[in-house]
Amino acid sequence: MAAHIQPSGIADKGIAGETAPPPVRRSRRLGSAFEIALLALLAVVMLFPVLWMLETALKDTRDIYAVPAKLINFGPTLDHIKDVFSADSPVFSGFKNSVIVATASTIIATVLGVPAAWAYSRFQIPAKKDQLFFILSTRFMPPVVVVIPVFLMYRDLALLDTLQGLVLVYAAFNLPFTIWMMKGFIDELPAEYEEAAMLDGYSRFEAFWRVTMPLLIPGIAATAVFALIFSWNEFVFSIFLITDPDTRTAPAAIAGLIGGTTIDWGLVAASAMVFALPVLLFAFLVRKHLVAGVTLGAVRR
């Protein structure tokens, strides 16, 4: 496993326990050829559904049903992708709603969660550990378990079929996560920066705002992307709490495409591709911080 942590060849020879001689070159090359073949096979198996989806999205409707399947020699088209964004598209409003819900819930969770994490990290709070455990414990419950009580509450509060309702649930689910992840980032940041700012003439909160906040931006970005991905992908609440086609989110809308008398597989595949794109893009943009965030505490100062 050490190879994943440290590039091979850089490893210290002197470290206790690592006394095994380096492998002979030829066997190593053979081994790596075998590894590459195995990993390639694994990659194909793992990525096949995604590749198939991408192909289907780009295939002519006739070629989608072709038997045997046309792997390469299909008639390429962008019609399905155009259909996703067309005026009478059944999924377009879903995408619009998903953007609204994911953005709003992420903003709420971040605005509430970052100051909360700061307070938990910096101040002496009675029963701090218990409070933090309680906050985390709200994430132990699978969504399916809480969806029925939430449904009943929402019915009484007239929040069913509304985007506000969904924003609220997602924010509530993202808040514990935001607090925990941000607390890790803030713990890493020496409190001396804030203390210096306080002695330089700012109040505690100003010190947080002027000194700690700018240094936390990478952490906040990583946390927000996680929250965004959760809200974007969430399916259970969306399908239970919203039945109105005008307010449902993209996952529910895409799922709704399947189950009619005829299924437009091209549109399903194209919608799925469009749906997957933002997540991949965001994850790529903040990949460095994502890893740092996941390992909580491995951030370089």
Partner: protein
């Protein structure tokens, strides 16, 4: 600039540990006051209480003629230099220096003028547009000092500011710090665990242990007459020799026939611990001085300007500081003799200074 008074300060943390028992300090205007002690002695906690970063459990802190207890750090008009400097990593050196002035909402022209003044004084002009991360340790240290200076605060608080520098740079910065402090004639409270630093810098030194004040005095006072055995062990390198001795006719006698001049005011027959500095002993060849206490050279460190001998005698291992002209080899049999005036002596029970 202002004087700083610490009155009956006590600090107890919520987990029950008492960091400062009961401390009274009066730091004069323009004084460079050093608080010295091992880690956990309460020196940093005291400093943080003065700064307002910790709230005192009881007692009072006065800066100038204002009781600052309960005031926020920003309302106390003091500046602090931290052990890890705490330079704002996202700001340039110029913005770091300007930070306290902007916090005080001073006009831009004044900010520029003060920043340039501090940069000139600390030779930071070439680095003004760099980020702190691109500076060496010594440069970062100077920026931290500059940031503390620009606002002309009532007092400077320094929390082990030189600990993170390498030895050579530390000596340079020590001189620079003292120079700046004298030039600004500012009140400065300086916390350190390094006794050399304390001796070199302090107008007065407060030696602390376990939340209490062990001794307060000018560096040479503390060096010559440590008030307690703790202070005696802490100041001086190599440390003071602490030798059990008995008062006999007119002098102190330790095991092996080692005789030491006795101070006045102690009873004959009394058992005491004498604190003898390494430079108050001499080693010589038994041939030229057959009467001294016999010993064997256990180790020697030739430091160039002086040589430190550790001599094994019946009174224990003795540190002896000799000029480099003395040449004794390891394992050589030598005689040790005390010279000069009477050393401070301590009561073995109370561990405090007795006699005059």
């Amino acid at each position: 600039m202002a004087e700083v008074l610490v009155k009956r300060l006590r600090k107890e943390f919520p987990d029950g540990t008492v960091a400062v028992e009961e401390l009274d300090l009066a730091i004069a205007d323009g004084e460079l006051f050093v608080m010295l002690g091992p880690s956990g002695c309460g020196k940093t906690t005291t400093l943080r209480c003065v700064a307002g970063l910790e709230e005192e459990t009881s007692g009072q802190i006065v800066i100038g003629d204002e009781v600052v207890s309960g005031l926020r750090p920003s309302q106390r008009d003091i500046a602090m230099v931290f052990q890890f400097y705490a330079l704002y990593p996202h700001l340039s050196v110029r913005d770091n220096l300007a930070f306290p002035l902007r916090a005080a909402k001073r006009p831009a022209a004044e900010v520029d003028e003060r920043v340039n003044e501090a940069a000139r004084m600390l030779r930071l002009e070439p680095f003004l547009d760099r980020r702190p991360g691109k500076l060496s340790g010594g440069e970062q240290q100077r920026v931290a000092l500059g940031r503390a200076m620009v606002r002309h605060p009532k007092a400077f608080l320094m929390d082990e500011p030189l600990t993170n520098l390498d030895a050579e740079l530390r000596a340079d910065m020590r001189a620079e710090l003292k120079h700046v402090q004298q030039r600004l004639s500012s009140t400065m409270i300086y916390v350190t665990h390094d006794q050399t630093e304390a001796m070199a810098l302090g107008d007065r030194i407060a030696i602390m242990n376990k939340g209490r004040l062990e001794q307060l005095g000018a560096p040479m006072e503390v060096y010559d007459r440590p008030a307690t055995l703790f202070a005696a062990r802490f100041i001086g390198s190599p440390p003071m020799n602490l030798i059990e001795a008995e008062v006999t006719n007119g002098h102190l006698t330790a095991a092996g026939g080692l005789t030491i001049a006795a101070p006045e005011g102690i009873q004959r027959g009394e058992r005491v611990i004498a604190g003898v500095r390494p430079e108050s002993f001499t080693v010589s060849d038994p041939a030229s001085d057959p009467d001294g206490a016999r010993g064997r050279v256990a180790s020697r460190e030739a430091l160039g300007d002086e040589t430190i001998y550790v001599v094994e005698t019946e009174a224990g291992l003795l540190n002896v500081r000799m000029p480099p002209t003395a040449r004794f080899g390891e394992d050589q049999v030598v005689t040790v003799r005390h010279r000069g005036s009477a050393p401070p002596v301590y009561d073995p029970q109370t561990e405090r200074l007795v006699g005059r």
